[in-house]
Amino acid sequence: MSRNSQEYSHKVAIVGASETETVGKLPDRSMLQLHAESAILALADAGLTIDDVDGVATAGPTPAQLTEYLNIIPRWIDGTAVGGGSFLMHVGHAVAAIQAGYCDVVLVTHGESGRSGVGVGGRGAAPSTIAGQFETPYGTWGPPSMFSVPIVRHMHEYGTTEEQMAEIAVATRKWAELNPRAMMRDPITVDDVLNSRLIAWPLHLLNCCLVTDGGGALVLVGEERAKDFPKDPVWVLGRGEAAAHTLISQMRDMTEWTAAVQTGKDAFEMAGMTHQDIQHAMFYDAFTHVPMYALEALGFVKPGEGGPYFAEGHTAPGGDFPMNTNGGGLSYTHTGMYGMFAIMESVTQLRGEAGARQIEDLHTSMVHAPAGMFSGTSTLILGND
């Protein structure tokens, strides 16, 4: 890094945050409607309205589709759209944009009619694209058939087991039991996971995230104004982002999330922190193995130690490294690009608004999400001091 990124740490804060009123099954709302609903609620959370916004970032719709819907002309836009982690990147970009004076009030929105498909465009790779030539002809049909491909290599190299990955689903469900908004709240066991329907071995149904509708939005401002809002600011302390590939066959090492290694280092460097400083984690769980790869790549455990770590209960309620405390994509909600909800739970926890699942004496949280399927990643470190 040519300049010291620490200069940008603790300079921009999240001062408004809200999900849509409900998440889950919302066939009465279009995709853009979910963006607008969460935008209006997040702005109201900060005592602001759409008229106060002069910077907009989104993924899914283009920024222009969003500004058209909201009827605004912002001075700064960001349409980085690389999948579930896009919103983490937007937050990182907003930190720079606000400090550069490009804009003062940034609105980041997410909304997805992932379950109901209302107002959503088509999917699938055109036959002349790289994916259309080298992936689709082999019967790939979505994330469970591609994001899952590296797992067998991890099992082979490190002895990672299906039981250990099932433990991740079990721990996450325990958090969902404490969240009244979660879609799946009944307790599950390792056997329940292993006996659930096979989707793409070694993935069973309960190794896979939900498919839901919902949205969320964030409002960010610079330090000069950050304390002028109804809620205490949640500071952006560190960020990192990377994109590497789209084809799963092009993952450089099937046992390591190489892009995440970089984004973790960058985020820690900017925040001036080390692993011991992180008290809470939201590691995007599209499938049970995804937070396991993240934990290893971000350096919280050594390569291959992820499976045993989860099985030991560190991340479950009462554990020393609480993770995915809203119930995660596995049990809370997963609209398609879940990264916004991962940020939202960190904000909720850092504000002390998490109710029965609140982590005591919490000051720092790390959010990590993939861009595509191991294709890239983004990492944020947030704090409330």
Binding site: P137, Y138, V149, I151, P202, S249, M254
Partner: protein, 138 residues
């Protein structure tokens, strides 16, 4: 019966790969400066620190190893009757990895240990397209 599954549509830089398969030859590119083979086709060497434009097509062995895989228990549309089927990454003896399907073997983890030796099976799915599938070495 017409082949209904998704077919690749070659682009200028990938045409030789697909043309080779039609002749039942596996053709991939090799950098003439750093000697490394690579996949997928591009007009320059993607190796870190090299990036040479001096690349040539070569016919390779079609031999490799099973690097990793999933067994899809679901098949959509024209794949409905295929499930369960294996979506695999093969590591060619020359180095590069590519996604493929396995044929000639039960879709059962017990039959599919990591690093299982594989060889290419040229699947002539239409008059125009041959897909590179892989099977255990006999």
């Amino acid at each position: 019966m017409a082949y209904e599954k998704a077919l690749p549509q070659p682009t200028p830089e990938t045409q030789e790969f697909w043309d080779g398969l039609k002749r039942h030859e596996l053709r991939i590119q090799r950098c003439q400066d750093c000697d490394q083979f690579y996949f997928f086709p591009r007009p320059f060497c993607p190796a870190e620190g090299c990036r040479s434009l001096n690349v040539e097509w070569e016919t390779v062995s079609g031999k490799g190893k099973l690097h990793t895989y999933v067994i899809s228990e679901r098949g959509f549309g024209p794949w409905a009757d295929d499930a369960p089927y294996v979506i695999a990454v093969v590591e060619l003896d020359e180095g590069p990895r590519m996604l493929t399907n396995l044929v000639g073997v039960e879709p059962d983890p017990k039959q599919l240990p990591a690093d299982l030796p594989l060889e290419i099976f040229y699947d002539d799915v239409t008059d125009e397209v041959t897909l590179p599938k892989f099977q255990p070495v006999s």
